[in-house]
Structures are given as structure tokens and as C-alpha cells.
Amino acid sequence: MNNSRKIWEKPWDYTEGFIVAGGIALAGTLLQFPLGNINPVDFGSPVNIIIGALFVAGLLCCHFLLKGNYIVGWLSSVRSTLPALLVMLLFIVILGLTPQFTIYEPQEHLPGNIFSRMGWYRMTTSWTFVFLCFYMLTILGFTLLKKARKLQSWRRLGFYLNHLGLFIALLGGLLGSGDLQRFTMTVAEGNTEWRAQDASGNIRELPVAIELDTFKIEEYPPKLVVIDNRTGKILPENRPESYMFEAIGKTTQLNGNTIELLEYIPQAAIVRDSVFTNVVPMPMDGAATALKVRVTNPSLKEPVEGWVSNGSYMFPYQVLYIDEATSVAMPVQEVKKYTSQVTVFTKAGHTEKAGIEVNKPLSMEDWIIYQYSYDESMGKYSKTSVFELVRDPWLKVVYTGIFMLLAGALFLFIAGPRK
């Protein structure tokens, strides 16, 4: 490198790269002040298609019409790439360090500092971030076009898969966010629902309807813990211990106590009067899980015995006092699986019966239906299920890029660095 070179004197190197990348970020920030964040909805079809077509056409024009142009050449070299990636990294680190808010959160809820107006609390929809993405895409595009002229080789294929894959996935993801639709739909057992809610709370009728035939929650077995009576924290505080129920007759050690399991009623009614607590089987909705335990520890004169339960929407929870400071308690059971048996209809006339679970969504025309939530106040007796319906027409584009990148990763592994 020639150290006496002045800035902007050719050949351009990293210094100019930082100035250009910084300039792009600054330009984005200057737009951010008057315009605020980008709402992807404003860039839905056909605006995104036009932007994408103009962008690619622009790259092609610059490449073919400005043959040998110095800046285009520089923009397809590592000298511009490295600063671009570093500035991008800087903003991603900022994104990772600042709490992020959605576009639907009113501006008043955001911290009232300068960074807020610079868009940092909604980084991914800020002009700065989007400009940097397009700058990266520009470099990627020119690099790809430059390499297309040269001889093909095995290694070049890896280069193409990586760079074209990233170009397609990134551009598709950016433009596609304009057409991405997400709704939540709450359906009660036995009902059919066409209406759904978007992230800002607007209700809309969709071209798909869900009939909820049944909704079932499967839970893990109950757990026992020893808690601090004052704070409610699980003990020992630095390494909380818990015991998952296996069978009656077992014994476990928790926080220095020996706990013996005497009785187990998976569906119990807990009836309390001023003196006694009665726990009896009650095989119906609203029943609580109850375990009778006997606790001994060296400082107790005699064992403590009694019922412990995590309650339900009908019954309060029940702890067993060991002494002044500690109790045995049963935390809310963890959910193992929740399944909605549904019949889905579309306006186009399709009908399909399916079981929808987390990680097992249902595809219906261009909608994907996800198990999202349920009525948590009712716990395992919830009679309603909440679904998320997502429509992303650009998904195929992004997946094309992702699979190219996956193939490109294999090339990186096999071929290794250029020697």
C-alpha cells in the first residue's frame, strides 16, 4: 500500500470504503429524522416488485454501460466489501444491545432520546439499516457480475452459490417484508371463525376459516420444590432443585429435606374450611393436581405431612409449611404438547381436516396456519385455541437463496481457502 496516498486519490482502499459506507449510513439517518421508520406495509406489492426490478436493472445497466468504470470496479472488490461489512456489523451490534420495539408500538412508549429519533429502537425498519442492506446488495451484485465474465471453475461455483444465494435471500427477504401478512385467530371449541386480528389490533375477514373440533393439552408430570416463604423463590437459591413426580412411595431430597410421596390425585378437588383441608378425587374440568407428602429433616421434631397442589382456575394452590422459613410447593406444570384438531375451509372451496401443533403447521393454499396459544387463564382446561396465519408470497424466493447458501457452505467446507 502506498502510504503517501491522499484520500480519494486512486486506488481507493479501505479508507474510502469507510467513508462511503459511513456516508450511506448517514444518508439513511438524515432521512430517518423527517420520515420516521419504514412501515413495510407501504412497500407491499407492486411497489416492492418495482423497486426490486429497478434495483436489479440499475445494477445491470451500471455493469454493462459503464464498462471499466472505476467506481463500479471498486464496488466489486474487497476494498469496499470490508468496510461495508464492518459498518453493517456495527449496526447489528447496536441492534443487539438496544431493546427493540415493533413498528406498532406508539412512539411515546419508546425512550425519548436522540437514538430513538435515529431509529435505533426499531433498527430493522430504519432507513439507515435498509440503506446499508442495499449497499451490501449493490456490492454483492457488482461482484457477481464481474466474476461472471471470467472463466468458470469448480471453485467459482462455490463462490456463486454463496454470493448469489445471499443476494437472493437478502433481497427477497427485504422486499418480501412488504407483502408479509400475519394474523392471529382465536377459535372456541365447536366454532368456526373467519375473522382474525393483525398486529395493530385491526379485525379482518380472511379467505380461510378454521373450525376447532377439539383442543387438547398434555402436561409433564407435576414437580415438587422447596420455596422460601418470604420471597417465594425456589431453594437453594443458587441452584434451584426440583423433583418431577414418578410414582407413589418414592422419596426425594430437596434443599436438605427428605420428602416421601404418599398419595397422588391427578384430578382433585381441594375443599378448605377454617381448620381442615380436604382433598378428594374429582374427575372433571377444573380439577387440580394434588400430592400428599411427608417431610423430614434433622431440625424437625416430627415429620410434617400434608397436601401440595398447584391449583387450577377453580382451586387455589396449596403449599405445605415445613417450618417458619420454608414450604413444599408445586409449580405450574409444564406443557408437553398442545394440539388443535381442526377443519379448515377456504373461500376457494377447499376443506381439510388436520391436527395442528407447535412445529406442525398446516399449509393451505398460500396460508400457513400455526398453533400459537390458548386461553392461559384456563390452563389445561382451555376451550379456545389461538392460531397464527401467515402469508408470505416471497418465501420461495428466500428459500431458493437459503438452499443455495446451504450448498455453498458445503463448498466452503470441501474446497477451503484459496491458496
Binding site: 474487497v78 447489528i92 451490534v93 412445529n359 418465501l395 477451503g416 481457502p417
Partner: protein, 264 residues
């Protein structure tokens, strides 16, 4: 099998790896060190299998469980490097680093816990995390090389050989980190409805990925400086640490990340 039995598998495994490292340093013959390393890996892996069976789920959820895989893959990464590029001291390096993570797991054992949230019940779970842990192990080895370079710069006779090794390993590491990340994206689409949501864990995964991309591109130019390259590797590894467990402590991620599954 529970964490209480861990030491009975970890100790013999580490002893086998130490024996392999010592033999590799003494003689250029590769057969015996390779066999001993594999034997150690076998012992260690039988604990992973045992834990897997007793938990009734893949042991990949909690920090301690990922550390377990990390300490398994470090000698794997060391062995591959040893086999492919014949660096005789790499086995000692990977053994030391692996032993550190094993020690952490012995001093601070995990809680035996069978719970696997619905979001994690997916065929993508195991490959996604295992591939990530493998790449972390490779990139951990690269970090050791970079530190070695920075500490002993003046005394290294063949600097290019060291930097070549770093390059070789970074390409393997970034290949796997890319696969791990993209499998994660495909899984996220299936579990949460979108392939990329800039959740704190995803954001730091992107930062880590960019960190190593920057290194790769920087090294493409002949003007690149070894020292700057080594510093870049260490910075990228810092980003990786934030992604792996640092996000659990970041105030910006408190209660926001859907990716924290540690037991509370």
C-alpha cells in the same frame, strides 16, 4: 444415567486424550494418538447417550448440556485438524480447552430435567444445535491459534503455516455456522411462522457470522496483516460468546428472547 455419573466418564476420557496428545507431540506416527483420541471420544459419547436415554430427550437444551457437546466436539475438531493438516500440537490444545469445559460442568453441574418445550420438539432441534456446537468447537480452536500467534509472534518460525491453519479452520467453522444458522431459519419458519425475526439470539448469530465473513474477506487480499487477522479472529469469537450465552445476561434481551431455555 445422570450428571452424578459424569465424572466417571469424563475423567477416563480426558486421561485418554492427554495420553494421545503426549504421544502426538513425541512422535510423528499418527495411528496411536488417533486411536486413543477416538477411544476417549467413545467413552465420552457413551455418557451423552446415557444422559439422552435417561432424559428421554436430546441433551441439548440447557447451558450445561451444550457445554457437554462442546467438550465432545473440541477433540473431534482437534483430531480432524491433526489428520488433515498434521499439526502435532493441536491435540494438546483441544484437550486443554475441552478439559476446561468439562471442569465447568463438574463444578457447576446441570439439573436433571426432562422438560422439552413444544417449540423445541422438532427434527431440526438436534442437527441445528449439534452443527452449531461443532462449529463453535472449530472456531474455539481457531481462537487458540490466534492467541498463540499474538503471544508468540516474534518466536514463531513459520508464520504463514500458522495463518494457513487458521484460514483452513475458519472455512470449516463458517461452513458449519452457516448451515447451523440456515437450519435454524428453516426451523424458525416451522415453529414461529417466520424465518428471521431479529430476536436477540438471532441478531448476535448474524453478528458472529458477519465477524467471520469479515475475516474471510480480509484474508483474500495479499496486503492483509497477520496481526490484524488474529485480532479479528478474537473479536469474532467474542461475538460468538455473546451469541452462545451472553444474550442470557444482556439487559436488552431480558424477557424478550424466545431462545432462552435455561432452567430458572
Amino acid at each position: 444415567m445422570t450428571w452424578d455419573h459424569f465424572i466417571y466418564f469424563a475423567l477416563p476420557a480426558v486421561l485418554l486424550w492427554i495420553a494421545a496428545s503426549a504421544l502426538a507431540l513425541q512422535s510423528p506416527k499418527k495411528l496411536l494418538p488417533t486411536l486413543l483420541t477416538i477411544l476417549g471420544l467413545g467413552v465420552f459419547f457413551s455418557f451423552i447417550i446415557g444422559l439422552w436415554i435417561s432424559l428421554e430427550r436430546p441433551p441439548l437444551r440447557t447451558m450445561g448440556e451444550t457445554r457437554l457437546w462442546y467438550s465432545f466436539f473440541l477433540p473431534v475438531a482437534g483430531l480432524i485438524t491433526y489428520q488433515r493438516w498434521k499439526y502435532r500440537w493441536i491435540l494438546s490444545f483441544s484437550t486443554i480447552l475441552s478439559a476446561v469445559f468439562i471442569a465447568v460442568n463438574i463444578v457447576k453441574p446441570d439439573i436433571h430435567n426432562k422438560v422439552l418445550m413444544p417449540a423445541l420438539q422438532s427434527p431440526w432441534f438436534a442437527p441445528h444445535v449439534i452443527i452449531y456446537m461443532f462449529s463453535y468447537a472449530i472456531l474455539g480452536a481457531v481462537t487458540l491459534i490466534a492467541l498463540y500467534y499474538l503471544v508468540r509472534e516474534k518466536k514463531i518460525p513459520d508464520k504463514e503455516r500458522i495463518m494457513d491453519m487458521a484460514d483452513n479452520l475458519v472455512y470449516v467453522g463458517i461452513a458449519f455456522i452457516t448451515m447451523g444458522m440456515l437450519m435454524g431459519a428453516i426451523w424458525a419458519k416451522e415453529a414461529w411462522g417466520h424465518y428471521w425475526s431479529w430476536d436477540p439470539k438471532e441478531t448476535w448469530a448474524a453478528a458472529t457470522w458477519l465477524g467471520y465473513l469479515i475475516y474471510i474477506h480480509y484474508r483474500l487480499r495479499k496486503t492483509s496483516k497477520n496481526k490484524i487477522s488474529a485480532i479479528m479472529l478474537i473479536c469474532a469469537f467474542v461475538l460468538l460468546q455473546v451469541c452462545w450465552y451472553g444474550v442470557n445476561y444482556l439487559p436488552s434481551a431480558q424477557g424478550r428472547s424466545v431462545h432462552t431455555y435455561s432452567v430458572r
